[in-house]
């Protein structure tokens, strides 16, 4: 499901240009609520750690707030937000040493026992090691396709490449990831 319809995005952009500071703050709060989960998930997979994802999310929303009043609606609001999110996540990842995806992972469900938790951690550790060895463009494309509600046309718009390139980039990324998962940690 998309975080926000086109009409809701248009109204929100109008509110962001309102002269009243309260209305602008309200528009920002609404935008944060609409995109926070998907932006966090994207940042989590690109940066590889929860704390880094939180920092990238903050950078992203600060950039969105600064640019929202000047947003002209030439692109979809979600496309613009995700472009900023990708850039923030890559910048955060470059600044920090690698942190693990496994950090801060709780029991997968209330009924899960210690074996399930151990298995889940083991799987995550493998995925984490494999994602870490992927190139930025592969990690970004996999992270975007892992989000709910984004079709390939929007992912192409976010990355600024033709739709065909998105599929071939995704396929190469997937092949590389599967090969790394099969071969295990370095």
């Amino acid at each position: 499901m998309l975080p926000m319809t086109e009409e809701a995005a248009r109204l929100l952009c109008e509110k962001a240009r309102a002269p009243s500071a309260d209305e602008r703050e309200k528009a920002f709060a609404d935008l944060f609520a609409a995109f926070r989960s998907s932006v966090f998930a994207l940042c989590l997979h690109v940066t590889g750690g929860r704390a880094d994802a939180e920092d990238a999310l903050q950078d992203c929303f600060v950039a969105v707030y600064r640019g929202l009043a000047g947003f002209r609606g030439e692109a979809r609001l979600s496309t613009w937000v995700y472009r900023i999110a990708v850039r923030s996540a890559l910048a955060t990842k470059a600044r920090r040493p690698h942190t693990s995806l496994v950090d801060g992972v709780e029991t997968p469900s209330a009924e899960a026992g210690p074996e399930d938790l151990a298995a889940s951690r083991q799987q995550l550790r493998k995925l984490d090691a494999a994602l870490e060895r992927l190139s930025s463009e592969h990690r970004v494309v996999l992270s975007l396709f892992a989000l709910d509600g984004l079709d390939h046309a929007e992912i192409a718009a976010i990355l600024g490449v033709p739709a065909g390139t998105v599929w071939s980039r995704l396929h190469l990324a997937r092949k590389r990831l599967n090969a790394l998962l099969a071969e295990g940690p370095p």
């Binding site: 989590l44 903050q58 030439e74 190139s135 463009e137 996999l142 079709d151 390939h152 590389r176 998962l181």
Partner: protein, 224 residues
């Protein structure tokens, strides 16, 4: 006859509903007889599920109110940083104007001129920031646009201290005859301190930061 490679690409398209009916039928028929493609599909589905589950685990346990409050604090810090930049520019300009004009210049005029220049500097900086690769009308490849932006930033951080140095030397040359009184030397010393702080900040903090970011991106951008 299509290869396994092409069917692997179509598996992704199938997962995201981008296949025609005929293509989907051909894929299903291929999967029925190709074990390695079935294994590839299972691994793909498993990885997708794991990534989605992992993200949702974190999303459920996040304290969103605290994160929103931190984002707002981050925003306030950004505004404060802009004010500090304006303050530093003013602090650099006041002694410079006093140095050039001597005692004749009034405090009000000096402060006014300093504020005007500080505003121009802030406007120029925000104009440069608008050219980041997040502009809605930017149609280029995001990763390459980001790399270009970092390279531009690195060039700017190398150039800015040189501009300040040229500025300092120009005023030293213009005001060399007035450099006899203590107040003139204090003014010049103030300018030199601002220059040294700017130079140190760019050389020790900003340039290594940008270079690290650029190296990480360069090392990872091209698919291997």
């Amino acid at each position: 006859m299509e290869s396994c490679e092409s069917f692997e690409e179509q598996m992704e398209m199938q997962l995201h509903g981008a296949l025609t009916r005929d293509q989907e039928d051909a894929l299903v028929a291929h999967l029925a007889r190709c074990e390695s493609c079935r294994a590839f599909q299972d691994l793909t589905k498993g990885t997708n599920t794991l990534m989605a589950q992992h993200a949702s685990m974190h999303i459920q346990t996040l304290d969103w109110d605290a994160l929103f409050a931190r984002t707002q604090a981050h925003l306030r810090r950004y505004t404060r940083e802009k004010l500090v930049t304006a303050g530093v520019v003013c602090a650099a300009l006041v002694p410079m104007i006093v140095l050039v004009q001597g005692h004749a210049v009034s405090v009000v005029l000096t402060s006014f001129l300093a504020c005007v220049v500080a505003l121009v500097v802030l406007w120029w900086r925000s104009r440069a920031e608008r050219n980041r690769p997040t502009s809605e009308s930017d149609a280029g490849d995001l990763l390459f646009a980001y790399r270009r932006l970092l390279e531009d930033r690195l060039r700017r951080t190398r150039r800015t201290p040189l501009v300040y140095l040229a500025w300092l030397l120009a005023y030293f040359y213009m005001a060399r005859e007035q450099l006899v009184s203590t107040h003139a030397w204090l003014g010049f010393g103030g300018m030199a301190c601002v220059f040294a702080a700017t130079f140190a900040y760019y050389a020790r903090v900003r340039q290594p930061q940008i270079r690290k970011e650029l190296d990480a991106l360069k090392a990872n951008t091209v698919s291997k």
